[in-house]
C-alpha cells in the first residue's frame, strides 16, 4: 500500500508539474507572439477569377468555371480597410505596416535586415513593442521622424549603441537613421533582423508611396481570432490570418509536448494502480475467511465491494492530496530556478502556469486508474461464496 501511495503521490505530482511547465511555456510563447505579430493579420487582397471552357471543340456553348483565387500582394487601400475593421466585434485596434528588406550598415559592418514601417501610436496598440524596448524609449522614437528601433541581436552583431547613426540601403536608396531604441522580443528571428521605422520614412526607403504590406489587428479576446479572421476575410476580400493559424506549427509542437508528457507521467500513476491492484488482490487471497464471515454475518456482495473500494479510495485520496502538495512545492521551486531561454521567447527563469485544471486532471486520471485497479479485486472478493470458503477452511 505504501508503494501504491508513493506512486500516486509522484505520479500526480509530476503530472501537475509537467503540465505547469509545458502550459507555462506555451502561454508565454503565445503572449510573446501576440506581442510581436498581433492577433490577426490582414494581408494580400484576393480576386476570384472566372474562366470559360468550350463545351466541345468549335462549339459556341461555353461553361463558366471558377478558377484559382488570384492574390494581389499587400493592402492597396489601408485606410478603407482599417475603417471597416473597426466595425468588427471585439476589435480593439488595427495598424498598417509596410514591410521590406534591405542592408543595414554601421560601424563598418553590414547585415541584411527587415525594415518595418509603422505608425508608432497605432502599432503600440497592436503589439508589445513599447514594453519590448530594453534600451532607449518609445518617446525618443516618436519624437524623431528618422529614428529607428533595432532588434537586440542585430544591434549586438553590428555593435550598434543607442543614439548611433545607421545607414539602411533598399531599393537603390541609402538613408541615414538615428537609433532611438533597441528592443528584445525574445524571438531570435525577429531580434536579429527586424528594424522599426516610421511609416513615412519607410515609404521613402522601400519606395512604396501608398498602401501597406499588411494590417495588424488586436482583439479583446485572443481566442476569438479564428472566427473574426474568417468573417473579415469573407467581407474584406483580403487574406486574413489568425495567430492560431499563423503559429499552428509551434502550437502543435506545444500540444504534442503536453500530451506526450502527460502520457509519460501518467505511466507512473498506472504503475501505482498496478501496485494497488496487486496489493488488493493479495489482500483478497489473504482475507478470504474474513470476507466469508462478513458475508455470513449479513454483509452483501455490494458491501464487500465497498470495503475494498474504500481502501483504494483512502490511498487515492491521501495520494492526491500528497501529490498536489508535492506538485505545488515543486512548481514553485521550478519557477524560481534561473534559466536563460532565447529563441522563440525570452525568459530568465522557468515559466510555470498555475492552473487548477492540471490538478483536476491529475486527480481524475489517478481516480480512474486506482478505481479500476481497486474494482477488480473488490469484485473478486464479492464473488467469494462464504459456504465454500468456510467449508474449505476445515470447519
Amino acid at each position: 500500500m505504501l508503494m501504491s501511495f508513493s506512486g500516486i503521490v509522484f505520479g500526480v505530482g509530476f503530472f501537475i508539474v509537467t503540465q505547469a511547465q509545458t502550459s507555462g511555456f506555451q502561454q508565454f510563447f503565445i503572449q510573446t507572439i501576440l506581442g510581436v505579430d498581433g492577433m490577426i493579420r490582414v494581408e494580400d487582397r484576393f480576386q476570384s477569377t472566372m474562366r470559360s471552357m468550350e463545351a466541345e471543340r468549335g462549339s459556341n456553348f461555353e461553361i463558366s468555371l471558377e478558377s484559382n483565387v488570384r492574390y494581389i500582394p499587400g493592402v492597396q487601400f489601408p485606410e478603407r480597410i482599417l475603417s471597416a475593421i473597426q466595425h468588427f466585434p471585439g476589435v480593439i485596434a488595427a495598424a498598417p505596416v509596410i514591410r521590406g528588406s534591405g542592408i543595414i550598415n554601421a560601424n563598418f559592418r553590414s547585415h541584411s535586415c527587415r525594415p518595418y514601417g509603422i505608425d508608432a501610436e497605432k502599432h503600440f496598440q497592436v503589439s508589445d513593442l513599447e514594453e519590448q524596448i530594453i534600451r532607449g524609449s518609445a518617446e525618443a522614437f516618436k519624437a524623431n521622424p528618422y529614428a529607428v528601433l533595432i532588434g537586440e541581436r542585430l544591434a549586438k552583431r553590428l555593435n550598434i549603441m543607442l543614439g548611433d547613426s545607421v545607414l539602411i540601403e533598399s531599393h537603390n536608396q541609402n538613408i541615414r537613421y538615428r537609433v532611438a531604441g533597441i528592443f528584445e522580443t525574445g524571438i531570435g528571428q525577429v531580434d536579429k533582423e527586424r528594424i522599426f521605422l516610421h511609416l513615412a520614412a519607410a515609404r521613402i526607403l522601400l519606395d512604396r508611396p501608398n498602401g501597406a504590406s499588411f494590417l495588424q489587428v488586436n482583439l479583446s479576446d485572443p481566442s476569438k481570432a479564428p472566427e473574426v479572421a474568417e468573417r473579415m476575410q469573407a467581407s474584406l476580400s483580403h487574406a486574413v490570418t489568425s495567430w492560431q493559424w499563423r503559429e499552428r506549427t509551434w502550437l502543435q509542437v506545444f500540444n504534442v509536448l503536453r500530451i506526450s508528457s502527460a502520457l509519460t507521467v501518467s505511466s507512473i500513476i498506472l504503475i501505482a494502480g498496478l501496485g494497488m491492484f496487486n496489493t488488493l488482490a493479495m489482500i483478497v487471497i489473504d482475507k478470504t475467511r474474513e470476507i466469508a464471515i462478513l458475508r455470513s454475518i449479513g454483509f452483501t456482495r455490494a458491501d464487500i465491494v465497498k470495503i475494498f473500494m474504500y481502501q483504494g479510495l483512502m490511498v487515492l485520496s491521501a495520494g492526491i492530496v500528497g501529490g498536489a502538495a508535492f506538485a505545488a512545492a515543486l512548481t514553485y521551486g521550478l519557477s524560481r530556478l534561473p534559466i536563460r531561454i532565447r529563441g522563440i521567447f525570452a525568459s530568465d527563469s522557468f515559466i510555470v502556469n498555475w492552473d487548477i485544471s492540471h490538478y483536476i486532471w491529475a486527480a481524475a486520471i489517478a481516480t480512474l486508474i486506482v478505481g479500476v485497479a481497486s474494482y477488480f479485486p473488490a469484485r473478486k472478493a464479492a464473488r467469494l461464496e462464504p459456504g465454500v470458503v468456510i467449508r474449505n477452511s476445515g470447519s
Binding site: 475467511r289 455470513s296 449479513g298
Partner: protein
C-alpha cells in the same frame, strides 16, 4: 410454537464431473425456538452441508427452506443476506475474528451492519454480550491476543449480537480442549435457552451432542 426454520426434502450435490457427490438426499427438518439440536455423523455424512443450507450460505438443488415464515429458495442473494443478518447467528469451528479489530468491535460488526442501534447502544449491547461470555474485561484487546477458547467465546457473542432467532454452530468445540469445549457448549446452549432462540449444532462430539434436546444422526446424506 411455529418452527423458525423448516426444511423440506432438501437435496444438494457437491463437486463437479467425476467428483460430483450427492451430499444431501431429501432431508427434511423443523427447528423450533428455544430448543437445542445436534446433528451428528461421520465426516462426509452431509451435516455441514445441511447446516450451510439452513444458514442460507448455500442453495439446495431441490427442496424448500422456510426461515421465519419466509420461503427462501427464490430470494435474491441480497435478500438472503439480509435474512441471515436479522435471524441467524453463526459459530464456526474456527472463530474467524477480524484480527485488526478489538474484541468489542468484532462483536459489534453485525450490529453495525443492521444499523438499527445507535453507536452508544451498540457499545452497551456489545459489552453486555461480552459480559455474558465472561470477557468484558478483555473488550479492548485485539482478537489474536486471546486464547483459542476465549476467541470462540467472542465468536459466540458476535453470533448473538443481532438477537438471532436461530444460532447455527458448525463444530464449535472442534478446535478446543475438553474443558473449553464444555464451557463453550454450556454457554451456547444456556444462552439459547435463556433467550429462547433455537440452537443447531453440528458436532462429532457425541457426549456434547447428547446434551441437546434433539439429536439428529446423519449418514450418507440422510437422517437415520
Amino acid at each position: 410454537m411455529p418452527p423458525i426454520l423448516e426444511a423440506h426434502n432438501l437435496s444438494r450435490f457437491l463437486g463437479e464431473g467425476p467428483t460430483r457427490v450427492h451430499a444431501l438426499k431429501g432431508v427434511s427438518l423443523k427447528v423450533e425456538p428455544g430448543k437445542t439440536y445436534s446433528i451428528v455423523g461421520h465426516s462426509g455424512s452431509g451435516k455441514s452441508t445441511l447446516l450451510y443450507l439452513l444458514g442460507l450460505l448455500d442453495r439446495a438443488e431441490s427442496g424448500t427452506l422456510t426461515l421465519a415464515g419466509q420461503a427462501t429458495e427464490t430470494l435474491s442473494d441480497d435478500a438472503r443476506t439480509e435474512l441471515r443478518n436479522r435471524f441467524i447467528g453463526f459459530v464456526f469451528q474456527f472463530h474467524f475474528l477480524i484480527k485488526e479489530f478489538s474484541v468489542l468491535d468484532n462483536v459489534m460488526i453485525p450490529m453495525r451492519k443492521s444499523g438499527t442501534l445507535t453507536p452508544r447502544a451498540m457499545k452497551e449491547k456489545g459489552m453486555s454480550l461480552l459480559q455474558s461470555v465472561g470477557l468484558s474485561d478483555k473488550a479492548q484487546r485485539l482478537g489474536n491476543q486471546l486464547s483459542g477458547g476465549e476467541q470462540q467465546r467472542v465468536a459466540i457473542a458476535r453470533a448473538l449480537a443481532n438477537d438471532p432467532h436461530v444460532v447455527l454452530a458448525d463444530e464449535p468445540t472442534g478446535n478446543l480442549d475438553k474443558e473449553n469445549a464444555d464451557r463453550v457448549f454450556e454457554l451456547l446452549s444456556s444462552i439459547s435457552r435463556e433467550r429462547g432462540n433455537a440452537f443447531v449444532m453440528v458436532s462429532h462430539n457425541m457426549e456434547l451432542a447428547q446434551r441437546c434436546d434433539i439429536v439428529l444422526p446423519m449418514q450418507d446424506g440422510r437422517f437415520t
